[in-house]
Symmetry: none
Subunit: 402 residues, 2 copies
């Protein structure tokens, strides 16, 4: 984080453009010792050409050995210390659906779930009910009122929703209600400080009403709440880097984290082609573009090695050339973390990264892959150094000291 | 140290087992430029096979350029910041011999030495007198009394002993009396803060008595005191990592540092075979085993390149297969620091490390050696990251953030 302490005083303005292309969960692992990862298996001539011309390495999103969630890993990519700024998923999801979150609002991410006759969870995602069904159920929950606060409930996607309380004197930290396993009852919200007790009581009251209202529904007859928190009020990318920054991201979570750091979130779809079109349409208007591809991570989480390979190849064939033809001054391609199909989850493995600009030293990497990046001249470094490196390569940082 | 700030809140419990095999002073150096190190010279097919399947790198025990003592380097291996937790060797040696050190005791490590007629040191280790002789001399020193404190003197091994003062108001920091070179007189203990003055005066009084009592002895006619300090009260490995941790270490110093972090110190001998037997006998009872081999370091300190090679080969032939057949989920093999025969002492060189688990990416390293590890995918990293990496590979850490 050394660069972060001094970077904003070094920022200079110019007309260069930076693209940060994030393939979510890009890093992989071999399915058997010594074997290839997903990225090593994929045929990626365009990424390989960028790697050959550019400079490569591996980054640790949070720290060696730490498996990151998507929120902290994206903050690190944008150059914000993820330990200093811990942000609840409720806030991220609220921003992600475009909800107008006020600075003192408390937001929670809700999941519809299924409980048995004893109130024990038998499906943490209520059979992944579709957004339409969740929206119907939310209509039933909206009439719930609580003393002295306004209550907002909004659908997110599938079985997920947000619950926002607006009023005076709401404060965290609060515990979550999802026990994270089957066969257990949802937990009560607990206040982790005396100031948080009022918010805890209100959230518990709301859950109690929701339980009654949903009792006869199937499969979604209960809810859990996670990531109950406030907007931490981060400095914007413009304040940090002097960049007019925009996000091209189809999924709410990533739109949310981009909004949290003051990016303009551009209208786009969930397909790679829609994202490429959005980028092209808005190309003249911004200095920095965060382009996010979700499906690499989804395939990893599903344990589908082949599907992850296919998506990486799809990105290489379509999105990468679309970006390259726009001639960004600096193009960074990496992931927010690793999601090996082997583990069916996010993991701690460092993430391959390539940086392409006119100012790269040569390194021996000819192929964009985990084992290639081991020999890359960027070495292994923390994700929070990515933005300073991108800014430097865009000639947007002045000399430090005389 | 980033991982350390958050790791204890991420700990999850499972049945995986971790072995941390430490070859003390493992890292070496070539006897002539371009030549092989001790580890590069040794024929180590079993370690090489683990390196080929696993992932390799180099760690800095404290920081680049810093030559570590055994106490701080082991704390770093166990994931404790060695700069934050500076522990006197007196404390370590006391714990190592099973002395019941109270929290306010001041402990010093003593060395018998030889001085000439002018009181100048001519042998810092008194010809390495055997433990039996040292024990006789200690009988002579035990009658020394000091005002208002209890005094304990206990043999450790060879020319080494501990001196413990127990009473109210004892405090450090204190300087050491060993001038660390021949031809100089032992130094007085000096108080580095006003609170430490009483303890300094008492230790000096004791040394003065000891000098008189030993005057006619040969070769051990004087003592020096090092590492005068209190027990710092570290959090246990169980508190930090949720691990039932055990140490298989034949030498007092290493048993001491293991006890300091709450490990169960298992009964064992000083030979590699005894250590292998202990590990096997206690295998079902613990989650984490620290296995310590001392003699690599001793050979390095003696400047005996060939002997160090022989010991590494012995470990490879006997202890490594014994560990592998127990099928640990994670096996880490490294040293606590380098002890090149070339330098006849600990050194600053980074230490080769291999980590073997089912979740390793392939890297180009086929041989466990200093030059092999340069190309390893773990890169070069601080020793305090070893435990987070081992915990991650044992699937004992939950995701950080949503």
């Amino acid at each position: 984080m050394t660069s972060q302490k001094i970077i904003s005083q070094l920022v200079v303005s110019n007309t260069t453009k930076i693209v940060l292309l994030i393939l979510d969960g890009l890093g992989g692992a071999p399915m058997h010792p010594g074997g290839p990862t997903e990225l090593e298996t994929a045929h990626t001539p365009n990424l390989d050409a960028l790697a050959a011309d550019g400079i490569c390495g591996l980054h640790d999103p949070i720290a060696p050995g730490i498996t990151p969630g998507s929120g902290p890993s994206h903050l690190a990519l944008f150059g914000y210390d993820p330990l200093q700024h811990q942000i609840g998923r409720g806030v991220l999801e609220s921003l992600g659906i475009g909800f107008d979150l006020h600075s003192d609002d408390m937001a929670a991410r809700g999941n519809f779930c299924t409980v048995d006759e004893n109130g024990l969870i038998i499906d943490r995602r209520a059979g992944r009910i579709p957004t339409e069904k969740a929206t119907e159920l939310i209509q039933l929950l909206r009439p719930i009122t609580l003393p002295d606060v306004k209550v907002f409930v909004e659908p997110v996607k599938d079985y997920r929703f947000i619950l926002v309380l607006r009023g005076e004197g709401l404060s965290g930290p609060l515990t979550e209600t999802d026990p994270q396993r089957l066969g257990a009852a949802p937990l009560p919200v607990e206040a982790l400080s005396p100031e948080a007790e009022r918010a805890a009581a209100l959230f518990n009251q709301w859950v109690s009403h929701a339980r009654q209202i949903l009792a006869d529904q199937r499969p979604a007859n209960m809810v859990t709440l996670r990531g109950l928190d406030k907007n931490p009020g981060l400095p914007s990318m413009e304040a940090m880097y002097g960049l007019r920054a925009a996000a091209v991201a189809g999924y709410p979570m990533y739109r949310g984290v981009a909004k949290l750091v003051g990016m303009e979130v551009l209208p786009t779809g969930e397909t790679i082609e829609e994202e490429a079109n959005t980028l092209e349409a808005y190309w003249p208007d911004y200095d920095f573009f965060f382009v996010h591809v979700k499906k690499t991570d989804s395939a990893g989480e599903d344990g589908d090695f082949e599907e992850k390979v296919t998506i990486i190849e799809h990105v290489d064939r379509t999105l990468v050339p679309a970006i390259v033809q726009l001639k960004p001054d600096v193009l960074v391609v990496t992931g927010d973390h690793s999601t090996p199909a082997l583990l069916r989850s996010h993991s701690w493995h460092p993430v391959p990264i390539l940086l392409h600009s006119p100012y790269c030293r040569a390194d021996p990497v000819k192929e964009f892959s985990e084992r290639g990046c081991v020999s890359g001249a960027l070495g292994r470094f923390p994700a929070t150094d990515i933005m300073p490196l991108a800014m430097a390569n865009a000639l947007r940082l002045a000399k430090f000291g005389a």
